[in-house]
């Protein structure tokens, strides 16, 4: 399997707190890779290192390499702004821009990157890809605050898609949503897999089992086990993985 992202001995933390310890793993192209593990195990910090958002927190530090198509994104000649366009992110809590209309929320990214014409087209395409077009096409000028939580999250996905990323990171995208909205987001992720490389953080193991091709189990900042989802859930090699997925802790 061809890899899109190659993580090599990644260490990260905040000040004197060492959160991620020597993580090395390869994330395959056009597949869904799930990161599971108990709260505080470093899952979020890990994905936030993949688009250089982690370093925005005061006191945060990163060591090691993250190769995106073979090029280390932490090299000094790499512009983090460019990396963040190529590696999009959907956050835990839906976070549409409340002061902008639904349309402007999606047009914001393309405008930042210099697109002036054809914004209507991009907005429609992005909303269609995020399976939200039919629900909002008559209210594009409205505030996103009027949408439900699930719709807001799909709006955030559409917003991420509008800048044409290659990778999309999902940081517990369904933890604030009800089961119906969760199912919609999961279907959507499975569709997006055709064209994007997807990494999803979740502490819902059923979710990982449903949508992920590969699953990585993190514990206390270490990568304990990584492999095909079926193997991780049915035949874990590490005792700690087995304990976690059978609900003995976490």
């Amino acid at each position: 399997m061809e890899s899109k992202i190659e993580v090599v001995e990644l260490n990260a933390g905040f000040g004197s707190t060492h959160v991620l310890k020597n993580i090395s793993m390869s994330i395959p192209r056009n597949r869904v890779t799930a990161i599971i593990g108990p709260s505080g195990c470093g899952k979020s910090t890990f994905v936030r290192c993949l688009n250089r958002i982690h370093e925005l927190v005061p006191g945060a530090w990163v060591r090691g390499k993250v190769l995106l198509d073979g090029k280390n994104i932490y090299d000094s000649d790499v512009d983090p702004v460019d990396i963040r366009r190529r590696v999009g992110m959907v956050f835990q809590k839906p976070n549409p821009f409340p002061a902008m209309s639904i349309f402007d929320n999606i047009a914001y990214g393309p405008k930042i990157h210099g697109m002036k014409k054809g914004l209507e087209r991009i907005v429609e395409d992005s909303l269609r890809k995020a399976a939200l077009w039919d629900e909002v096409k008559h209210r594009l000028k409205d505030s996103p605050v009027s949408l439900s939580g699930g719709q807001q999250q799909r709006l955030c996905i559409a917003r991420a898609l509008a800048v044409e990323p290659e990778v999309i990171l999902f940081d517990e995208p369904c933890s604030a949503l009800d089961p119906v909205a969760t199912a919609k987001i999961e279907d959507l992720i499975l569709e997006l897999r055709e064209n994007y490389t997807i990494v999803i953080v979740t502490h819902n193991m059923q979710q990982a089992a449903r949508i992920a091709d590969y699953t990585a189990f993190f514990l206390m900042g270490e990568l304990i086990e990584y492999g095909e989802t079926a193997q991780i859930f049915e035949n874990p090699r590490d005792k700690r993985t087995e304990d976690y997925i059978t609900g003995r802790f976490g």
Binding site: V81, M89, N95, G109, C156
Partner: protein, 274 residues
């Protein structure tokens, strides 16, 4: 049990009583201004120039016009500077410059307004050789800036971190994130703060006495002295003429009504989130 309830009642009554007591001066002042000022208000009073001493009639039209102009000049200078400094404080907290700006804003807030007037006198009046609307505007802008700095800083700090991250995660540079996401999200708070600051400084008299000075004619350019409501009220109130005293009450009513309208308007609009 009974004693506890009794204490509770007594204390509640004490609090309500204190509140009412504190409201008496406000109510009495508004009542007096309304009663004494209302009979003076007329179309002529609002639109005409003051009459020469001894002649009846005339109005405060030029002072109303002048107040708008001086407050307008103050806003043109004070709002952009205040918002820019507030943005800096919110975006770069803890930097050395930030601490200095923050401390300066605190000190400026406490500077007596007459001192602000002296500052504008030194910087503008002496430099350009005369009293002027510009000098008055500079004096009021100096008073506005610290309030706008604080209000902008607070409003921007209330914008959740997730929104900044959402913008940065789209590959937006930091300056665009600040201007287009953070500032636009905080705009209600900033506009409210700016309007309340305008209401606060519109009635300032001391800084205008030796900056904008006064004038018995219409506005004649930013480098000329200009009449303003507070200074006009002051001049008329300390004059020896009965009819001027009455007109001072009329001016007071106009000023208080404008400031109250601005305050109440902001409260209503903020309640409806614009």
């Amino acid at each position: 049990m009974q004693a506890r309830k009794l204490k509770d009642r007594l204390f509640t009554a004490f609090c309500i009583g204190s509140t009412l007591l504190a409201l008496i001066p406000l109510g009495s002042m508004l009542y007096t201004i309304f009663v004494k000022g209302f009979s003076v208000i007329s179309i002529d009073f609002l639109t005409k120039l003051p009459a020469p001493a001894g002649e009846p009639g005339g109005g405060f039209g030029n002072a109303i016009q002048g107040s708008f102009i001086v407050v307008g000049i103050a806003s043109l200078i004070g709002i952009p500077l205040g918002i820019a400094a507030g943005m800096y404080l919110a975006e770069f907290p803890g930097s050395r410059v930030s601490r200095v700006v923050s401390f300066t804003a605190d000190v400026l807030t406490g500077v007596p307004s007459i001192i602000t007037g002296i500052f504008a006198y030194l910087v503008v009046v002496l430099k350009f050789g005369g009293f002027s609307a510009l000098a008055g505007g500079v004096a009021l802008a100096t008073m506005m800036i610290p309030f706008i700095v604080r209000t902008t800083e607070e409003a921007m700090k209330l914008v959740p971190r997730e929104l900044r991250e959402a913008s940065l995660a789209l590959g937006a540079p930091r300056w665009r994130t600040t201007l287009e996401v953070v500032l636009s999200t905080a705009r209600f708070g900033i506009i409210t703060g700016v309007l309340l600051t305008i209401a606060r400084i519109a009635g300032e008299t001391a800084p205008l006495l030796f900056t904008a000075f006064s004038n018995r004619f219409w506005f004649d350019g930013v480098m000329q002295p200009v009449a303003t409501l507070p200074v006009m009220i002051y001049t008329y109130a300390i004059s020896p003429f009965e009819d001027w005293h009455a007109q001072a009450w009329g001016g007071a009513l106009v000023l208080v009504a404008m400031i109250l309208a601005l305050n109440i308007g902001v409260k209503l609009a903020a309640g409806r989130r614009w």
